[in-house]
């Protein structure tokens, strides 16, 4: 869990540290890459959720077969 909060903290403070260096990829092209990052994050969240549900279900099905 700790690494997860570290990751969130990293993303929260990321813009502040990036403000010094100019013309970064994430700040070019009308910052469209930021939108892509946000959308991919949501996609990965949903996929991770489905994957975990799939795994859990497979485990339950195996358990069911043994009994």
């Amino acid at each position: 869990m700790k690494w997860f909060f570290c990751l969130i903290a990293f993303f929260c403070f990321f813009p502040a540290s990036a403000a010094v260096t100019m013309a970064e990829q994430m700040r070019s092209d009308g910052r469209i890459y930021v939108v892509i990052a946000v959308m991919l994050t949501i996609l990965f969240g949903i996929v991770l959720y489905l994957y975990r549900m799939d795994r859990k279900l497979s485990r339950l099905e195996k358990l069911d077969q043994k009994n």
């Binding site: 959308m39 991919l40 996609l43 489905l50 799939d54 099905e61 069911d64």
Partner: protein
């Protein structure tokens, strides 16, 4: 492994769906699109809004095929599949409807007249009404299904109703909006499927993979729900 169909445990199509969606999200925003007045960058909604409706059509088609299979073989598995593919289809339809309303608010609505006035003209659009009718018909499917307690009667009646709902879908979203005047694009020919003079080649390269990717995601969600239901039934009978 329980008695769910084999394909539900294969991971290659799930991975394919995820990869296609990643491609959609990146190429969909970065790829070149025709510069059109009014639409501007919102043309990229083709990869998201339109894909919801394509996905819905495919899922409803799977649902009706499973309903017919149930009526032929009387196998509970087909009944459950029919129910849950329809459920995911409804989810996609609702998402298509709400994304469409956002898109219309910024392209169809006239900024010079009060919002309520332009809303009243948009809300009368035949394509929107048709989509609303077909979704309501499918809501009724869920209500009808859950109101019957006897398992076999429920399966049979809802399978028959599913066929009727699918038949109503076609005039409601494909025929009526073409007969009447509609703001919604794609009223003649084969919208988004006409290779010669519909969408531009660069957009087609993203649109077709996007449809497949979104549909596979819908299938994945459906299979999980079917497996839960099968497991649930097994627990109850043993």
């Amino acid at each position: 492994m329980s008695n769910a169909p084999r394909y539900m445990y294969r991971s290659w199509w799930k991975i394919t769906g995820i990869l296609l969606l990643i491609y959609t999200f990146t190429a969909g925003l970065l790829g070149s699109v025709p510069k059109l007045p009014l639409l501007q960058e919102t043309i990229r909604n083709l990869y998201f809004h339109v894909c919801m409706w394509f996905g819905m059509m495919i899922l409803f088609t799977v649902s009706v095929v499973q309903a017919i299979l149930y009526l032929r073989k009387m196998d509970r598995k087909h009944d459950l599949a029919s129910r849950h593919y329809a459920g995911t289809g409804i989810l996609f339809g609702l998402l298509g409807y709400s994304t469409g309303s956002i898109w219309a608010a910024y392209t169809w609505a006239d900024p010079n007249v009060p919002f309520a006035e332009s809303f009243s003209t948009i809300a009368r659009d035949p394509k929107l009404i048709g989509a609303a009718i077909s979704l309501l018909v499918y809501f009724a499917y869920l209500v009808l299904r859950d109101s019957i307690a006897d398992i076999d009667r429920r399966a049979r009646i809802s399978a028959v109703y599913n066929i009727f709902a699918y038949v109503i879908l076609f005039p409601a979203i494909w025929i009526l909006p073409r007969v009447l005047e509609s703001l919604h694009p794609g009223q003649d020919g084969n919208p988004a499927l006409d290779v010669k003079n519909d969408i531009s080649p660069s957009m087609r390269m993203v649109f077709y993979p996007a449809v497949i990717g979104w549909t596979l995601l819908g299938v994945w969600i459906s299979t999980i729900r079917i497996r839960i239901e099968l497991l649930n039934e097994q627990k109850r009978t043993t």
